[in-house]
Symmetry: C2
Subunit: 417 residues, 2 copies
């Protein structure tokens, strides 16, 4: 992609409202733009990252048998009344049609999926069933300063599982736990599995927490027995409830959670199946969420330095940042540009995702600053000096290490797909 | 994909509310499920088609320079007041936060994109610019019986273009017109370009109409000069306004529209640029929409027979439907199943999209009926008879033509990607 043809213009100033470093960096680097408090637009660079996160999640959900669906966001009031959450779900946006009927704007989808699968699940032969969807969600949060870490509108992946009994639910719950760990690792995050409240029916649910100073959650870690537990359900913050060892307080951002619903929603919607003996039983359910737009923010919270973002390779909007270091001397600059163009064409042919900063009206100094801000994993630079040595510079954004590489070795070093 | 592992169960009965044949067939064949009037969930089969339509649109938008973004659905009231449409946009859903502020649920995105690009467009060097997005939209329609042809919540692609002058807008408008014709052709539709009202500023806009009995729009065609014009803007329905020839009335479903906005929204949001002479001028805009979930419905309206859907190849959820015709005799059935499994493995290896109906509890007769309903382009059947001839049956859904093909010729006939 050529920068001159791309919606790309970094910003020096960001609204004072933005307190979270992720929102500041993502706004400056042209990934997102705030529409109003808690509501963001995704610009071409930001959408590329969102799509990569979605693809990682999709692959891992399909690997554990998940089938993708897409559920509606306008939810009929009666579905939410049937579970009692029309009145009790605190952050529910409610909207009335001018023709009378009321809708909830979906903040989660138990009220849609549970009655939906009644057309599908009749016998034990129809179980287990795993359905996931990726879409917008809405929560009427008080004004916050967390940027995209906590939005009123956000992108989320929900997975719902349906089982014959608690044992099968437990088995799948543990498979999802492992799939989630793979997802966060691929996104460049070290997510800790933290015990949290299980609600009415289960002892625990689990949250996936990434340690960051901007995190909204507090949790505790015991080094002796490696317990992680959320502050909400720990009674004594001095001693580990499991082994009595000392506890360390940590601050984190939640990127996912998994929850055994058991038959809470099956009861509300009378979702039953006939077991092997012909007996009618409630279906057991689990639900598993990942906040995708939040993940975009947490990745930046956990991967940046004073100069900008440092994208983990698998979610970077492009893998390479390519540019010529121009001197202002016409003849030399032309030679550099020709060489850069030729590398660009080569990379495109091989299917390498490359962002080529070919802009004419921006100085090389500014381009270098913007490249650090943008934070692509690798940078390839041709300068007058490198060209004299028949070489290019290859810089890794994370380590800041620079290697001089002979142009004739380009094919060996820079591999396509 | 094996049917036994897939969310797949056809239905015999569909709610009497569904009047449109597309909604009836798509519900029976397990592509969509109605949540409430005008609001649908997309099941795995339906979502596969939606994704294919989206991918066709994405490719054609990128081919004419479009860059993809994703804009928010919760729109601040003030943006809609600034254009005057908070009060005048008839189908606007309005929702109030419990913390006081009001939002519109986006039915279209001029109110978001115009102020957004003010951070990007300053000089003529930043123009032209083409941005598109694919997402949900909301319109508070009266209850209708059109199924997914007219929803309260629907999936739409919007493209917005920004130009220095009307001439450049006109040029791009015509490029989009051609791109739209390619999109609809790839979706298996013959979409007619119909002149319709241009609003306050332009003489005409253009709609893309597919002739169907379920269509909500009336338009006229003159065979002498090949004019197509919408009923709304034709005064005399007897005579062609262009050549005086006789007019034929047609009924159609609109699948897209393109519109020159000129500086209507640039004025509202003071979107200006400096031209080559340093003069400040209003940016010229165009907007171009395609209803994606509606398109799913129109494709079915235009491609079905008494037995079910007939998917155009490029948007079919799978290309091949594979099954064995079992007789109930154990030994013979085992031989058939082994052969079908082996073909299935071959097809998977080659990246062919195949739906293998391996269900044990469904009779072959039912499976054949369901295959017609589902409507995949090609069906491969192994029967006792075909196996004796070392052959398989290849049936084209559209023509219903059957060929017997030798198993040894499989590799020649069935090609992967």
């Amino acid at each position: 992609m050529k920068a001159s043809k791309f919606y790309f213009k970094t910003r020096k100033e960001v609204s004072q409202d933005e307190a979270a470093i992720s929102a500041v960096l993502l706004t400056k680097a042209n990934f997102i733009e705030k529409l109003t408090s808690g509501v963001y637009n995704f610009l071409p660079l930001g959408l590329r990252v969102i799509r990569k996160i979605e693809q990682i999640i999709r692959e891992e959900m399909e690997a554990i048998g998940g089938q993708e669906i897409l559920m509606a966001l306008l939810n009929p009031r009666k579905n939410w009344e049937q579970t009692g959450r029309w009145d009790t779900f605190n952050a529910l946006f409610k909207v009335q049609s001018k023709y009378g009927s009321w809708f909830a704007l979906a903040p989660t989808h138990e009220e849609v999926i549970t009655p939906m699968v009644k057309n599908f699940i009749h016998s034990y032969k129809d179980l287990p069933l795993y359905l996931f969807h990726i879409s917008d969600k809405f929560r009427d949060e008080p004004r916050s300063k967390s940027g995209i870490l906590r939005g009123r509108e956000f992108i989320m992946k929900d997975l719902y599982s349906f089982h014959q009994d608690e044992k099968d639910l437990e088995k799948y719950y543990n498979r999802v736990k492992k799939a989630y760990q793979r997802i966060f690792r691929r996104c460049g995050l070290n997510a800790l599995v933290v015990e949290s409240s299980g609600g009415t029916f289960s002892r625990f649910s689990h949250e996936f927490q990434v340690v960051t100073p901007a995190g909204e959650d507090l949790f505790y870690h015991c080094r002796s027995c490696n317990l992680y537990r959320n502050k909400e359900i720990i009674k004594n913050t001095k001693k580990c409830p499991q082994c009595g060892g000392p506890l360390k307080e940590l601050r984190g951002s939640e990127v996912g959670n998994i929850f055994k619903l058991k038959d809470k929603y099956s009861q509300s919607f009378d979702l039953k199946f006939r077991d092997k003996n012909g007996e009618s039983k409630n279906v057991m359910m689990g639900c598993y969420g990942i906040g995708i737009s939040r993940l975009l923010g947490v990745i930046v919270e956990a991967n940046h330095d004073a100069n900008g973002i440092i994208w983990p390779p698998e979610v970077a909007p492009f893998e390479y940042h390519l540019m010529g270091l121009l001197k202002g001397a016409k003849k030399e600059d032309e030679a550099i540009k020709r060489q850069v163009e030729s590398l660009y064409e080569k990379m495109l042919k091989r299917g390498i995702e490359v962002f080529y900063d070919d802009r004419e009206n921006v100085s090389s100094g500014e381009k270098l600053v913007e490249a650090d801000l943008l934070g692509l994993p690798y940078r390839i630079i041709i300068s007058e000096k490198s060209l004299k040595n028949h070489s290019f510079e290859l810089k890794e954004r994370k380590s800041q290490k620079v290697k001089m590489i002979k142009l004739k070795d380009f094919d060996k070093i820079i591999k396509g797909r």
